[in-house]
């Protein structure tokens, strides 16, 4: 059954409860180049496969960009 999370500030439906790592794969995002915040707490990289997404989770995928 499907659930909806909030991804980078927008609703994002996902099929069933998958891990954060699986989410990144489906999004084509290299886990090594981003920071993942889940419900305001930062996830360690090596735990991304163990964290399963729940309905309503707020997920932020953040990376570095050029800035002054």
């Amino acid at each position: 059954m499907n659930i909806t999370i909030q991804l980078n500030g927008r609703d994002h439906p996902i099929s069933g409860s998958i891990s954060v790592l699986e989410l990144l794969r489906t999004l084509d995002v290299n886990p090594g180049s981003v920071v993942v915040e889940r419900n305001r707490s930062i996830l360690e990289r090596d735990t991304l496969d163990q964290v399963t997404l729940q309905q309503g989770d707020e997920v932020e995928l953040i990376r570095f960009v050029g800035g002054g």
């Binding site: 500030g9 084509d28 180049s33 930062i42 953040i62 570095f64 960009v65 800035g67």
Partner: protein, 261 residues
């Protein structure tokens, strides 16, 4: 006076020019410009991953062995957001250094003195080396020092305006009173502006827009490098004072005329 290296948070840097990485036409021109600048400190920002283009990654272009990567908190509108951003960069593997920016106003991107001080206090306690971006406010600069920031970074003019050292008088007071390095940030649009700041005794300057939007960013980066060195060298060599009346550079002995006897 000697030309000591710039020391921030107990760490020593050869170059007194800090550069930003925004607005470059390409990742390659950015890297060329950074190298031409001779800079040891390079700022970056944090943003949400663009899910439409998840590939792009600036860090792959920057060598953390060559420069200190200094994340800023641009985009933060209050202390809480700024603290959160700082912690995210640390979690991303950066050293616990942060260029603290809290800019609620989207038009001029001017810093909020109260929120900046609040965030600085939290981040210092949290173990960060904090370099706060501030208006040219001497009293605020002292208060930031008091809570333990590693520098103060007063602006010369609003970010990206290239207007130069419009806050000259206040910057001069900040330099006179500061016990931490003063890095002039924002608004410096030409090497002469950077040189002027260094001649006043600033410990360094941060430049981004003026380099990134130049016709030839790498050449402009080198121009700023020279300007910063020129200003620093002039400062430690002892600039002469201003005069109102002329002072002949050629001797003014009575000349080719009959001597008055």
């Amino acid at each position: 006076m000697e030309n000591n290296p710039l020391v921030i948070g107990g760490r020593s840097f050869r170059s007194r020019l800090l550069v930003g990485t925004g607005k470059f036409p390409s990742s390659r021109s950015m890297v060329e410009a950074i190298n031409a600048s001779g800079s040891d400190i390079v700022t970056v920002a944090l943003r949400r991953v663009d899910l439409a283009d998840p590939g792009d990654d600036i860090m792959s272009a920057l060598d953390p062995e060559r420069y200190l990567i200094l994340p800023n908190t641009s985009g933060a509108r209050d202390a809480e957001e700024a603290v959160r951003l700082a912690r995210i960069s640390r979690a991303a593997g950066c050293e616990p250094w942060v260029k603290l920016e809290v800019t609620p106003d989207p038009h001029y991107l001017l810093p909020d003195p109260v929120e900046t001080l609040k965030a600085a206090e939290i981040l210092v306690k949290d173990g960060f080396t904090v370099l706060p971006y501030i208006n040219a406010d001497p009293v605020l600069a002292k208060r930031l020092e008091d809570v333990g920031t590693a520098t103060v970074m007063p602006l010369g003019a609003p970010i990206g305006t290239n207007r130069g050292l419009k806050t000259r008088d206040s910057i001069q007071i900040i330099i006179e009173q500061a016990t931490v390095p003063v890095i002039v940030d924002a608004g410096l649009g030409a090497p002469s502006h950077a040189a002027e700041a260094m001649e006043l005794g600033a410990d360094g300057v941060l430049v981004n827009t003026a380099i990134a939007v130049a016709g030839d960013p790498a050449a402009m980066a080198q121009a700023f490098k020279l300007g910063v060195e020129a200003g620093r060298l002039a400062f430690i060599s002892g600039l002469g004072g201003l005069r109102w009346k002329a002072e002949a550079s050629s001797p003014l002995t009575g000349f080719l005329r009959r001597a008055e006897s």
